[in-house]
Amino acid sequence: MRALRTPLASLAVLAVGLAVLAFATEGFRAFTSESARRIVVSEHPREVPSVALQTAAGERTSFSKLHGRWLLVDFIYTRCETYCLAQGGEFARLQRRLAEPIAAGQVLLVSVSFDPRDGPRELADYQRRFGDRGAGWMAARALDDDGRMALMRAFGVTAVADEMGGFVHNAAINLVDPAGRLVAIRDWDDARGAADYVMQRLAP
């Protein structure tokens, strides 16, 4: 019996260790927090908190008032001068690609700023800069710090200050269903994938 103790202890360690690793990687599918958040969201849709927003037009609204249609949400800051420049262009492209459901009131694009320095004017400039067609694309910011943090937490957005006074952040297109649940996350430059996802679910 004595000789079996080490193999038994090792087996127990191995079993528990593998179980912990499986838990930490969503079943060996996700090794980064970004891939993990996408898997978790697609398997367990997450309620988006009803945070008060102020739009580029200066109007007040909130996430709960936007229920009833598909939302394509991205997180931005308007001073961004690197690859998030392309993010704005990508949303302008989505606006064209989804023009029909937007006109039918079934889809709304929402760009939320996580930079406290962004006000309605900066947000309006941002949309103009990327060729906003005037319908179906809302740029907004949370009205207060608590709301901003709650949104970033719910969507799993992390912004890290970089050396140039800007942010590096995990940009993505977040899909919120008409019931107000975050159900899928696509790459920030995958406008086609995001549009297809919504179109398939709108089709009768």
């Binding site: 080490t6 360690v13 260790g17 912990v20 690793l21 996700a30 890290v160 970089d162």
Partner: protein, 201 residues
């Protein structure tokens, strides 16, 4: 007080200091500091703590840990978990993951290595060292060439710097082991001592 107990006290002190926010946050501010300073120091705290384990308990543990296999397996698996970019990321954002890190790195990596390494023979030590070297080089290479950030909390330049240093560390351990094999004398736990002092340089 036995020298072992003194070392254990020093380990406990190091553990406590690392948990102080004023120490913890700077060490988690970059990926490089977290992986090459914070995690090794937490492991060292556990190693020092284990020096205070009474000989009687160590002998009983040895019955379940022939050639140090169970303990080194435990340390490898726990080490693997803290090599996941997701785990390093979450330990900055999530308090319960931070707690898991501060408990598991000393108790499930540092302490088992301290207790099991002296029991391990040439072959087991060789396997562990080969895996440590290979994993360090693999991880360094991955961090260096990945065009994407693997941690949401850290910048790409930081990740690449960590990759470069990990490759240097891996090569340094490799050289130290090769040196020892050719010119050293096979002895007690000295091989690790040399490896880690080289890694810190």
């Amino acid at each position: 007080m036995r020298p072992g107990q003194r070392t254990a006290l020093a380990g406990a002190a190091l553990w406590a200091v690392l948990a102080v926010p004023a120490v913890r946050h700077p060490l988690e501010s970059t990926m490089t500091y977290q992986m090459l300073v914070q995690l090794p120091l937490l492991g060292a705290a556990g190693w020092a703590l284990a020096q205070g384990v009474p000989a009687a308990i160590d002998r009983r543990l040895a019955l379940w840990d022939q050639s140090g296999i169970s303990g080194l397996l435990l340390a490898s698996l726990a080490g693997l978990a803290w090599m996941l970019p997701r785990a390093m990321d979450a330990s900055v954002d999530e308090p319960w993951v931070a707690l898991a890190k501060f408990l598991s790195v000393p108790l499930l990596i540092g302490a088992p290595v301290a207790l099991s390494w002296p029991r391990a023979g040439f072959v087991v030590r060789g396997i562990v060292l080969a895996e440590v070297i290979a994993m360090t080089l693999r991880l360094g290479w991955l961090y260096l060439i990945s065009p994407q950030r693997l941690c949401s909390n850290y910048l790409l330049g930081d990740q690449q710097r960590l990759g470069r240093i990990l490759i240097i560390v891996g090569l340094a351990i490799l050289l130290a082991v090769a040196w020892k094999l050719m010119w050293g004398h096979s002895g007690t736990g000295r091989a690790t001592g040399e490896g880690s002092s080289d890694a810190r340089r």
